[in-house]
Symmetry: C2
Subunit: 458 residues, 2 copies
């Protein structure tokens, strides 16, 4: 008898579940159709990149970007638009950097470099020294002080082309950019030149954050383009006594005041349960911050726009956050989490789009297995839209600060093949982003948010 009851109950549940899923698939179809047909993300990205440009924390462009996002969010007419003050580091590049290889026969070869974010300046006359090329830290340690003292260390570590995920190769290579300078200085190097983190052979130096280890002298450090790296490496083989000269006038100014910009649609049934979706508004100054991460910001704004346009009243609160200062400090993400804690908010889920505006492939989940398992059951609703990767993994740098509050972190996964061609370089411009691919990312996040808002996570 009990089994019969259970059976009937399960049938009832199954029927209502199927019904819900049918309705859901209609709503999701509408979300994708609206985004692909009338989405606003691409137009916003156009303005953010072409009218404002690169938006390094503390810059005038970052200030303009804050105002722009605030204005545009207000036009969507959510229930609330507000800012959170964020104190950010203010590093400036100064004049355009220059570098050349000077062979012992006096022949010179110019190469493209740019200062790494956080680096100190060279003296006005530049750093001028012989070069030691290494592929990794093991080679550096083998050479030691005797071979390195007084020289420039050239970290020529290529990203591994064999990995399908370019993020994996980036993760392996980025340590040279972050800590190459201090590791070299430990052995008495006077400077460090880092091969750009890209899988493309081109002449753009790709910048990015570096950090100094206070135990060792600070030496100026720069990224060299992959074409420059190939030239330098070939020149060293030909003429090991060559001299490398590079000049940069970057410096750190006093911290500046900036903002996270937040738009919010209040949930009708569970307003205290908050679903956060965001990208970072700051970008490096070398390019226009289109893929990194203008894309993530405008996609997140699009979520609010889609809910309003389609008259979807969420049961739970949805917040779009444009975080400030992901690139060189992470102060915006930190601040958001700090305020959430202070206000005793319940941020049940945080989604981040910071992998570029290419075709979305899925989501990566970071949180307790039970909840993540529940979310993953929705995968089949996304089958028609190419979202085939539902895996456990990283959420995102800005939302990572919410982890300790029990928030489920979700990263939008996108096709990563061409991302590092543009990453942190002058090539990260609007024309590299495709409207449909960008909108598909927004629609995918909006659809997942819709489901979470309807059903919650318990």
């Amino acid at each position: 008898m009990q089994r019969t009851v259970l059976f009937i109950l399960s049938l009832l549940f199954f029927t209502s579940f199927t019904h819900a899923q049918n309705n859901d698939s209609v709503v999701i179809r509408n979300i994708y159709t609206e985004a692909l047909s009338n989405g606003k993300a691409y137009g916003w990205l156009d303005f953010l990149t072409n009218n404002i440009g690169g938006r390094l924390s503390g810059s005038e462009e970052a200030t303009k970007a804050v105002l722009f996002v605030e204005e545009e969010l207000n036009k969507i007419n959510p229930d609330r638009v507000f800012k959170q003050e964020v104190i950010v580091p203010h590093w400036v590049r100064g004049e355009k950097e220059s570098a050349e290889i000077k062979m012992t026969n006096k022949k010179t070869v110019a190469v493209s470099i740019c200062a790494l974010g956080g680096s100190i300046s060279t003296p006005k006359e530049g750093i001028k020294a012989k070069v030691v090329e290494v592929k990794n830290f093991e080679e550096l340690d083998m050479l030691g002080t005797e071979k390195i003292k007084g020289k420039i260390v050239f970290f020529n570590h290529p990203m591994d082309p064999a990995n399908y995920s370019t993020f994996k190769s980036y993760g392996e290579a980025a340590r040279y950019r972050w800590s190459g300078a201090s590791k070299a200085a430990k052995y008495g190097a006077v400077g460090a030149v880092i091969r750009s983190m890209t899988l493309s052979l081109d002449d753009f130096p790709h910048t990015g954050s570096m950090g100094y280890n206070d135990s060792f002298p600070k030496v100026p450090t720069c990224a060299i383009s992959t074409i420059g790296a190939a030239k330098l490496s070939a020149s060293i083989k030909e003429d090991p006594a060559l001299i490398f000269i590079y000049k940069q006038s970057c410096r750190k100014l006093p911290d500046a005041t900036s903002y996270n910009v937040i738009g919010e649609i209040k949930g009708s049934e569970y307003p205290e349960e908050i679903i956060v979706v965001g990208g970072h508004l700051d970008s490096w100054d070398t390019g226009n911050g289109a893929h990194d991460d203008g894309a993530g910001v405008v996609q997140s704004m699009e979520i609010l726009n889609l809910f309003r346009k389609l008259n979807i009243q969420p049961k739970r609160t949805i917040r779009c956050v444009a975080y400030m200062n992901e690139e060189n400090g992470g102060k915006g993400g930190e601040k958001y989490a700090e305020m959430a804690k202070l206000n005793k908010e319940n941020n049940i889920v945080a989604i981040e789009s910071d992998g570029g505006g290419s075709t979305p492939e899925g989501f990566s989940f970071n949180g307790d297995s039970l909840t993540v398992g529940r979310i993953m059951q929705w995968e089949k609703l996304f089958n028609p839209f190419g979202m085939h990767q539902w895996i456990r993994g990283y959420g995102g740098a800005d939302i990572d600060h919410l982890k300790s509050q029990g928030t489920i972190l979700i990263g939008l996964m996108v096709d990563s093949q061409r991302y590092f061609d543009y990453h942190h370089a002058a090539s990260d411009t609007f024309d590299k982003v495709n409207r449909r691919e960008l909108e598909l990312g927004a629609a995918s996040m909006a659809s997942l948010i819709y489901l979470i808002s309807e059903y919650g996570l318990k």
Copy 2:
């Protein structure tokens, strides 16, 4: 007893199957690594697009392309390189086309057009007439002779942005390009202007094949850019009596002699079982034929290169075919199938890459269920490489002619989001193709071919 034997047998089978799969995954990993690290497809595409350019059947560029592919295939050192003579139509564009909207107030607006492939020329002074705008054939039929006679019909049918697969939207829209001219001429129209088949709003007219229905007068027909279409449509709303003028001097020359180019590695155990992989070497003349279909050709050449570089001796014969004349006649594919029949060949499988050089997503299979089902069991070996779409569907235009010979047809499926931004337009250039995405397509086909070559299809 019998059950025990079966059980043991099945265990043995399972063990050997698992072992085979493990070996296979190593070989497949090696194929991807080689393609991503040292692949030659991108360099070949550079030459084909930047040094040779658009390669319309019968053109000097098509001849150069034949020679180039033959030379490069020979360098790979397969067992055989040969050509198949193909008689192709020879249509030429003539001088650059021009068009303008002339408002009744004498104001003129220039718009971008190009002749559709196969269209007749306009008179020297152009076609000059009032315009009737329709969205589809139903609207055309409603208007009838009374409203259409003596006018130009403007087919303003946008591709549907809501479909995830842009090929689906293309399929729906392409009928206006193919038969718009004759359908309009049936009602006495003097010309037909077709909205370009693209989801992008840009100023490139996208050409493509059209055909005349001999029951009606032939009228000149052209594609108008989507920006041009928007201008024309807005102008008609403002001023329905406006005049449209367009000039084109395209014409059909006598048929020309051209070639399919074929490279072959003989199978060591079953040389009579042939696995064909190809793309089409001809392209439209408007752009450089990078995505369509230089990509497919160089990927197919890459298959032979990968087998040679990795010293994989296939058990079955592998043929790379660069088909001529897919765009405006399909004579190359026809010829290949004709020769296969004549020579009593057993082409067990034919794979085509003609969806552009973007990130591959899977394969679509056309053939008997039993065999396709067997092939589909290999899907999991491709999980690490994003190949998640294994579906029943279309193979490709060139290989379709082999269907009647029982050949299993397989199409490489790639990310279609940006394909029609470039398709048949001046924007289809080398810089739109990413090296990694291109190589992933080659590696995916090479891996599938490896499996078919090892295990066959019976």
